[in-house]
């Protein structure tokens, strides 16, 4: 089937089998390997992307079902050199270790803050409860999203400073 999916603002047209999973379409066809996969049963949430602005598990969406929709992946979070406050928050608060769940966690964080700029700790925990992390014990992910919430006003001034001072 020939499908057109809008990914990160651009339309991409490809010939795909109906059974092609969205996560594989992103990774294999568009070479957007920032979206990972970690299970086959939509439990781990490593494959979360935004579909029309809301988090979905891309291992359980067919690429053909995404045709005509807008998909946003981790590769679109930063604006050029300028990181999204969520990305910066994950660096500032040590919200990642192996980095595997991180893209999905950050996208969920972004979607949450877009709807609720000042979420409580419990609201953040609920928002990420469909996504597993094996490294961080979640606390620093919560803090990373809180950092992003606090620093949204200064978002324009956020530049990357990992590996050096704040």
């Amino acid at each position: 089937m020939r499908i057109t999916v809008n990914v990160n603002g651009d339309d991409h047209t490809r010939e795909v089998e109906p059974r092609h999973l969205l996560v594989r379409f992103l990774r294999d066809d568009l070479e957007l390997t920032g979206t990972h996969w970690g299970c086959d049963t939509s439990n781990c949430g490593t494959c979360v992307v935004l579909m029309d602005g809301e988090p979905v598990k891309s291992c359980t969406v067919l690429a053909v079902m995404a045709a005509g929709h807008e998909i946003r992946t981790v590769e679109d979070l930063a604006d050029g050199d300028q990181l999204d406050p969520v990305q910066q928050g994950f660096i500032e608060q040590h919200g990642l270790q192996c980095g595997f769940c991180t893209p999905g966690m950050m996208l969920t964080g972004r979607a949450l803050l877009d709807r609720n700029p000042d979420p409580s700790e419990q609201e953040i925990r609920e928002a990420i409860s469909g996504q597993l992390c094996r490294c961080t014990g979640y606390l620093n992910i919560v803090k990373s999203i809180q950092w992003a919430a606090r620093n949204r006003a200064e978002a324009d001034g956020v530049t990357e400073t990992a590996g050096s001072q704040t």
Partner: protein, 297 residues
């Protein structure tokens, strides 16, 4: 990663077209909406439909409207929409109770009420909720619409009244004055299927329970409408002794099995315990003005 076997894909643009496709492909076709039950089964190659009929574009099935004394919920209504619906929360707090603990947020963004009911998983929450609410399902086929009660809709594990060439289009929830409802679920972790769950809906009329509905999930077939408990409740005055007896009857009325989620003995106990808890909350809610449940802890 696991991938499904090959199949054909058709995206329906109208309910009539979807029905036509379902008729054409017969037993080999499956409807896909959220896909969160079907696609994992297909990846595990436990299901291998030849054709998927995608109904995600059928926006006319994505609605929540109050018509007379019924709340009509389109089959394509997402879990998230139900959870965020003020109308649903006002009349049916049991639905919000359940939706908070169905799967997880990204899954709720895709999954639909129709998909949950049609999957008819024995541990599925909305079947018990709709059973307790004495809901009706609207099934459409070539010959037009038919309306069946939840008790008739749900015919056993993974079996429903939806026939070949038909689809569920709407769920109708009766709005009753003085109603209260609640859902209680035990899960091993967030997002897990129920170990056991109980939904209770009722009205209070002059201090007595009426229109009682009690539905259990994950404790064996035939528990979506516990007639014995409902009969006990109807006409009775709420009391701890009544809840105790209702719980006992609920325990006796189910047929759980031991599995990784828990022992049969434990699940039988939960059927009673959760029925008691849901009853307490449903009665408390029935005693309040409509819409006040949002302030509950």
């Amino acid at each position: 990663m696991q991938v499904p076997a090959s199949f054909d894909y058709q995206r329906a643009e109208s309910v009539d077209e979807a029905l036509e496709l379902l008729r054409r492909y017969g037993e080999e076709a499956r409807v896909v909406a959220g896909g969160h039950s079907l696609l994992p089964m297909m990846k595990l190659r436990l299901a291998a439909p030849e054709v998927l009929v995608d109904i995600n574009d059928l926006h006319e099935l994505d609605h929540i409207v109050l018509v007379g004394d019924e709340l009509r919920v389109g089959a394509l209504t997402r879990h998230r929409t139900l959870l965020e619906s003020e109308l649903v929360g006002r009349y049916f707090p049991i639905v919000h109770d359940a939706e908070k603990v169905i799967a997880d947020p990204p899954v709720r963004n895709r999954g639909t009420i129709g998909g949950s009911l049609c999957q008819a998983d024995p541990s599925e929450d909305l079947s018990a909720v709709c059973g307790a609410l004495h809901a009706h399902a609207v099934i459409r086929g070539a010959g037009g619409e038919r309306i069946v009660s939840m008790a008739d809709f749900h015919q056993g594990p993974y079996e429903t009244a939806v026939g070949v060439g038909e689809m569920l289009t709407e769920v109708r929830l009766p709005v009753l004055p003085g109603a209260g409802s609640a859902y209680e679920k035990v899960e091993r972790k967030a997002g897990d299927w129920a170990v056991a769950a109980a939904g209770v809906a009722l009205t209070l009329r002059e201090g007595r329970i009426a229109d009682a509905g009690v539905g259990l999930a994950a404790v064996g077939a035939g528990a979506l409408n516990l007639h014995a408990v409902q009969t006990l409740l109807n006409g009775s005055e709420p009391s701890e002794a009544l809840y105790e007896e209702a719980g006992r009857v609920a325990s006796d009325s189910c047929s759980p099995v031991t599995d990784g989620r828990g022992s049969a003995e434990y699940k039988r106990h939960l059927a009673g315990e959760l029925t008691r808890r849901a009853l307490r909350r449903a009665v408390a809610r029935a005693g309040r003005p409509i819409g006040s449940t949002a302030r509950e802890a």
